[in-house]
């Protein structure tokens, strides 16, 4: 538990520093434009990861691992009997979406000749005893999901089929994140740009939940 909290704190700090870095979005995009001839000029970890030989199947399985985690979280949350009203309605819809993502990614990976990642034997989602606790974890998971898909998008080699499909799912995760924030009474759109995380950052965030 404590470990999860620490990890999530770390993630939150990473997020904050990124947000600060992206405050002047004009400056950021301008820097990107200047760096266009040399993607590494800005030290962009996302671009650097393309050199690590991640295949589209690797990325799809990376996404599937996250979708398993999310699907299991929402199944547990909805089945737990703690939720009610609009929160129950929305989280039930989100559960169905995550299950659909799991099924679709599994099918796509299989059709490409890969071996789809399986769900973990168990997950540690921390405190599931109150609606507030569930919504807090949910918001963090969705933000990681959005950041993960956004960071992975540029690494996808099949731009005609897999990238549009991944971006489609990314938008759904973004809507989930905003919906949870709305339910918690926070501004659903807190920044000019959505979050972006590297594969390493995502792995660090979810490893304590999945365990090993």
């Amino acid at each position: 538990m404590e470990q999860i909290t620490n990890r999530l704190d770390q993630l939150a700090q990473t997020r904050t520093s990124r947000r600060n870095a992206l405050k002047g979005v004009g400056v950021t995009l301008a820097a990107l434009a200047v760096g266009a001839t040399n993607p590494f000029a800005q030290g962009k970890a996302y671009a650097a990861e393309t050199l690590q030989g991640l295949t589209d199947l690797d990325i799809l399985n990376f996404a599937l691992t996250l979708e398993h985690l999310e699907a299991e979280f929402y199944k547990m949350a909805v089945a737990g009997g703690t939720l009610s009203g609009q929160v129950l309605t929305v989280l039930t819809d989100i559960r169905d979406h995550e299950v659909a993502h799991v099924d679709t990614l599994t099918q796509v990976i299989t059709s490409l000749g890969g071996t789809p990642a399986q769900k973990a034997p168990s997950y540690n989602f921390g405190d599931m005893s109150t609606q507030d606790a569930i919504l807090a974890t949910s918001e963090t998971l969705e933000e990681v999901g959005v950041g993960a898909y956004t960071g992975a998008a540029a690494l996808i080699k099949d731009k005609k089929t897999i990238l549009p499909a991944a971006a489609s799912i990314e938008q759904v995760e973004a809507r989930h994140q905003a919906a949870i924030r709305f339910l918690r009474g926070s501004n659903p759109a807190p920044s000019v740009l959505g979050p972006v995380l590297t594969v390493a950052e995502v792995t660090a965030a979810v490893t304590p939940i999945i365990g090993k």
Binding site: V25, G26, T28, L29, A30, L32, A33, V34, G35, A36, T37, Q42, Y46, A47, K75, V90, I94, R95, H97, V99, A100, H101, V102, D103, T104, L105, Q107, V108, Y149, T150, A153, A154, L155, K159, K160, T161, L163, P164, A165, A167, S168, I169, E170, Q171, V172, A174, R175, H176, A178, A179, F182, N187, P188, A189, P190, V192, L193, G194, P195, V196
Partner: protein
């Protein structure tokens, strides 16, 4: 100004065709070359020059929509129809669109392109109630998100693609916020639907300034974004979704 938008959209269509040819040529060269480092560098350079051209077209398309959104928020915020939280969101999200306009304009200029300008005025519908304003913003933000979803995969430069996906996220957030305030479904679908540029242009044309309500984009089905496989990607997702639907009941019951 109308002319400017139209011209830009036509240039965009042209640059896409250009890029397709260039990529085919570069791809062909790559296939037959013996991969001497100097040859590879030369091909990469030639390819990136054409790709930058294509990316500018995509960014100008996005900028056209951001100008429209920016102007819409200004008009609706000034109308005084929004109250409370909706008024707060109107101001904040309007500032986001303005930041997107500035960032895209700056980036296009830095890439050597000519950023499309805002129209002097737009034909926005006359709204009289807060509910109408919220409904309009839901529609516009949903269209904006679908437009980015259709166009972002066309960006070749990976850093530009990443930022486009990040803006796409922000537009989806806006749509969700107004969906919540308007009592609409907060999470309407498991897979977000993209729109092609032709589809988006058809939707936004009534907002564009007279006399020419329908800009001549020079687009046909053959060279619209559809040709770039967006439809193919979604067909795959749709097939997966159908499968998922059939399995979902069973899956959920296992909990």
């Amino acid at each position: 100004m109308q002319h400017d938008v139209t011209t830009r959209l036509r240039l965009f269509a042209t640059s896409r065709r250009h890029f397709m040819r260039a990529t085919a040529i570069a791809g062909g060269l790559a296939a037959v070359t013996t991969l001497a480092p100097s040859r590879i560098a030369g091909i990469a350079l030639a390819e990136s020059a054409f790709q930058a051209d294509g990316d500018i077209g995509v960014l100008n398309y996005a900028l056209t929509l951001e100008h429209l959104e920016n102007a819409l928020y200004r008009a609706l915020n000034a109308s005084g129809l929004l109250t409370g939280k909706a008024a707060d969101y109107g101001r904040e999200f309007g500032a986001h669109e303005s930041a997107h306009v500035d960032a895209l304009t700056d980036t296009i200029t830095k890439l050597g392109g000519t950023p499309v300008q805002a129209q002097a005025a737009y034909n926005f519908p006359q709204l009289t109630t807060e509910a109408q304003v919220i409904e309009t913003l839901v529609t516009v933000e949903d269209v904006g998100a679908s437009a980015y979803l259709g166009a972002a995969p066309l960006l070749v430069n990976p850093d530009l693609l990443t930022v486009a996906v990040q803006i796409h996220t922000n537009e989806a957030w806006h749509a969700t916020a107004f969906r919540g305030l308007g009592g609409q479904d907060l999470v309407p679908f498991a897979f977000a639907p993209p729109r092609t540029m032709a589809e988006v242009v058809a939707i936004v044309t009534p907002f564009l300034q007279a006399p020419s309500r329908m800009p001549d984009t020079g687009l046909t089905d053959g060279n619209s974004l559809q040709a770039w496989g967006v439809a193919g990607g979604i067909a795959a997702v749709a097939a997966g979704l159908a499968l998922a639907r059939s399995q979902r009941t069973e899956e959920v019951e296992q909990v």
